[in-house]
Subunit: 233 residues, 2 copies
């Protein structure tokens, strides 16, 4: 039994090392095209697609947006995004529980990102595996919905640790579920003091203005830094 | 790149073949001890622990129950189960996104199951990976909560395909979320016509009597069959 678990660990390390190289390639590709990549993660039904629809609504005038929908199967989310007129591709992971950097790179290629400012990857609905595979994103955003409970940072610490921003979603249902904002935020910040936290509701619209300002600033900051660097090269 | 994805597939096949053997060992161990194993799966926050508390409440007089709580980290669920006086162990997967048969076997050993009639494994909160790894359970039960949405069978088909029973939970919130019972059930049964479907709410208590009668019947049926077989051996 010992023997077997060692073997699995070796394989995982090799896979993760390869993944790191592919992520670096994606970062280079994004930089050359002047594109900004968001990796959006969270449990099934946390509100990832609703959040993307809000981002499109609020930032479509300023940025050319593309969306990559990753799912084990199906195309319901891609159809929902497509209705807004936004460019969208559906990626099927063939049952795999996460997107890795290589798959993301193939998505970027298929997309022809040179005329896209902002690319949003909606990762597979999963609070565990996507946290282990960097895809070369400029910003990692995770969503925790109120119905999931305020104890999730205790059970799924890696996702909270590697994310740049946390959206606590479906806040309109706080009266129904036993969910403490304070506890959720304390537990998340204990894992990752740098996490930017936003409370949002796609139903009432709460919080999305503030969150989209934050996203806008991050995109602007990358452009500013890239431009400055080129100037001095 | 082609090369790399082939390699991963080979590894997965080997891992799954090893897992099948370990699952068979677990089935043999359960049979010898006259124990019944439930593998309980679902997204983070779907209501797995609440369901176990309901099963304990309704079946503790009839069966000696033990609970194995599997989490990437933490022990909040084990603490909640422990308060009822039920035997419980916490299994840490070390960040892994699912329980496999070998880990489950180690849990059964640690538990000393000979004086347990019913062992419930609460798998890692994840709608993807646990579906791929059989653990040797007598019954696979999945939970889909109303807040997750009725489109989940389209996106996570494998979990619905391999489960014996589906609990649609948090039905008390149906007025708040855009969830169609009919659509959810149609989509689930299209994948798996043999699925037994129950609607439950831990808050109102709806459906747990019916579900626990179903579980009771399954446990009784295994005992009846085992006894009959021994008689003719």
């Amino acid at each position: 039994m010992q023997n077997r678990s060692y073997r699995i660990v070796e394989v995982r390390e090799q896979v993760l090392a390869d993944n790191g190289k592919a992520a670096e390639k994606n970062r280079e590709c994004l930089k050359q095209n002047g594109s900004f990549l968001v990796n959006l993660m969270g449990s099934p039904g946390a509100g990832k697609t609703s959040t993307i629809l809000k981002i499109i609504e609020k930032l479509r005038e300023k940025y050319r947006i593309g969306v990559m929908e990753a799912d084990a199967d199906g195309d319901t989310d891609a159809a929902a995004i497509g209705k807004t007129g936004t460019r969208v591709i559906q990626l099927h992971t063939g049952g795999l529980c996460h997107m890795d950097a290589d798959m993301t790179g193939r998505g970027l290629l298929a997309f022809d990102i040179k005329d896209l400012d902002l690319v949003i990857l909606e990762n597979v609905g999963n609070l565990v595996c996507p946290a282990e595979f960097e895809v070369g994103a400029d910003l990692r955003i995770m969503i925790l919905s109120v119905p999931e409970g305020d104890d999730k940072p205790l059970k799924y610490p890696l996702m909270f640790s590697i994310s740049d921003a946390l959206l606590i979603s479906k806040t309109d249902t706080e009266g129904i579920f036993d969910f403490s904002r304070d506890l959720a935020v304390q537990r998340a910040l204990a894992l990752n003091p740098d996490l930017s936290v936003f409370f949002v509701s796609a139903k009432t619209g709460e919080g999305y203005d503030e969150f989209c300002r934050f996203l806008d600033q991050k995109i602007s900051a990358k452009r500013y830094l890239s431009a400055g660097k080129e100037e001095y090269e």
